[in-house]
């Protein structure tokens, strides 16, 4: 271990508390017994689809279309997942085939 046990434990605690507080902030701002404002209810409802769209881009954040492999493995695998899912609507099939295809593409093809 590069640093002492005590310091290591304290780092874990600091990271844990900080992570928890980011997740807890909305619940502190709008406690259980307080009426939730209409505008917050609205945001809560429309936020998840927007966040999921953002998370997809987040997953592809390291893709650079201007250098080899031009994001092609990511594109091919993502399109495969979309097509399979629209066609069969089976989560495991779409995720399983997409992942195996992606692994094959980056390990063997590109």
């Amino acid at each position: 271990m590069p640093i002492s046990v005590e310091k290591s434990l304290l780092i874990i605690v600091a990271v844990a508390v900080t992570t928890f507080s980011t997740r807890a902030i909305p619940f502190l701002l709008f406690p259980k017994d307080k009426e939730i404002p209409d505008s917050i209810k609205y945001i809560g409802k429309v936020l998840p689809p927007a966040v999921i769209g953002m998370l997809i881009i987040y997953c592809f954040k390291s893709v650079n279309p201007f250098v080899y492999s031009h994001g092609l493995p990511e594109l091919i695998a993502a399109v495969t997942v979309i097509v399979l899912h629209v066609w069969k609507r089976n989560n495991l099939l779409s995720i399983g085939v997409g992942t195996v295809l992606y692994m094959f593409l980056i390990q063997r093809v590109f």
Binding site: S8, T18, F20, Y42, G53, N91
Partner: protein, 244 residues
């Protein structure tokens, strides 16, 4: 057969399990990657387990591995962790009411609100034969169990994995795509989804890969607030169409 009646935890976990399989695949492998990284710094599996139980954050724990070095300041630890998790500040807004009904389990639900659990809670419809709070709790617990298990495996045997697992983390990407497609085809309002995709793409191009999430999140909030009238009128039209 007492535990089989509606409300039993056994039933809640059994019903929740199939919904969590995509996260099982993804978490196991990104958990393994974390365990391997942490172990390479000289921390054995007990440390990996401890961290995955207490912290429970994918990108947060990847980043945190770098803190275990001489000379890293406390302010760096707190500030960088905060920045990498900042998108989570907004997630709870969607779950204030649902978690509010969950009694003592509420605290754990807030703690365990990762990207994946958040997305899963949003997309999953609670089956009729289980109690909502136990079912949501089961999803959250199972997800974290996969994460802890993955990190333990990575720390113990990461270097012994007999096949090349490069790219397996695409399971998480595929999970988000699947959820996106599901809600896109569900026939609801598609504007928020498009706002999310476009803001993140635009800010990724402007700010680069390491610092685009906060501006994207702010832009998403602004668009959703400013576009409220338009988005809600779109919603009502759909309801009307359904009624016809």
């Amino acid at each position: 057969m007492k535990q089989l009646k509606k409300g039993g935890y056994a039933r809640a976990f059994r019903t929740a399990f199939p919904f969590t399989i995509p996260v099982l695949t993804g978490y196991l492998f990104i958990g393994i990657a974390f365990g391997v990284m942490y172990q390479e710094k000289g921390y054995n599996f007990l440390w990996a387990i401890l961290m995955s139980i207490l912290v429970y954050a994918g990108s947060g724990q990847y980043l945190a591995v770098n803190f275990f070095a001489p000379g890293v300041g406390w302010w760096d630890v707190i500030f960088m962790t905060f920045m990498v998790n900042i998108r989570h500040i907004f997630y709870g807004l969607s779950l204030l009411e649902r978690f509010g009904r969950m009694g003592k389990k509420r605290l754990y639900m807030i703690f365990s609100l990762t990207d994946e659990t958040y997305s899963l809670l949003f997309i999953t419809k609670v089956p009729k034969d289980v109690e909502e709070d136990k079912f949501l709790f089961a999803i959250a617990i199972l997800d974290q169990a996969y994460w802890v298990l993955g990190s333990a495996i990575g720390a113990i045997a990461g270097s012994l994995i007999p096949f090349n697992a490069e790219g397996i983390d695409f399971a998480m990407t595929a999970l988000f795509i699947v959820i996106f497609v599901d809600q896109w085809l569900a026939g609801g309002n598609r504007i928020p989804a498009v706002i999310g995709l476009l803001s993140a793409t635009a800010f990724r191009m402007i700010f680069g890969a390491d610092s685009f999430i906060l501006p994207s999140m702010i832009c998403i909030m602004i668009c959703l607030i400013l576009g409220r009238k338009y988005i809600e009128s779109e919603k009502k039209q759909e309801v009307k169409k359904d009624a016809d």
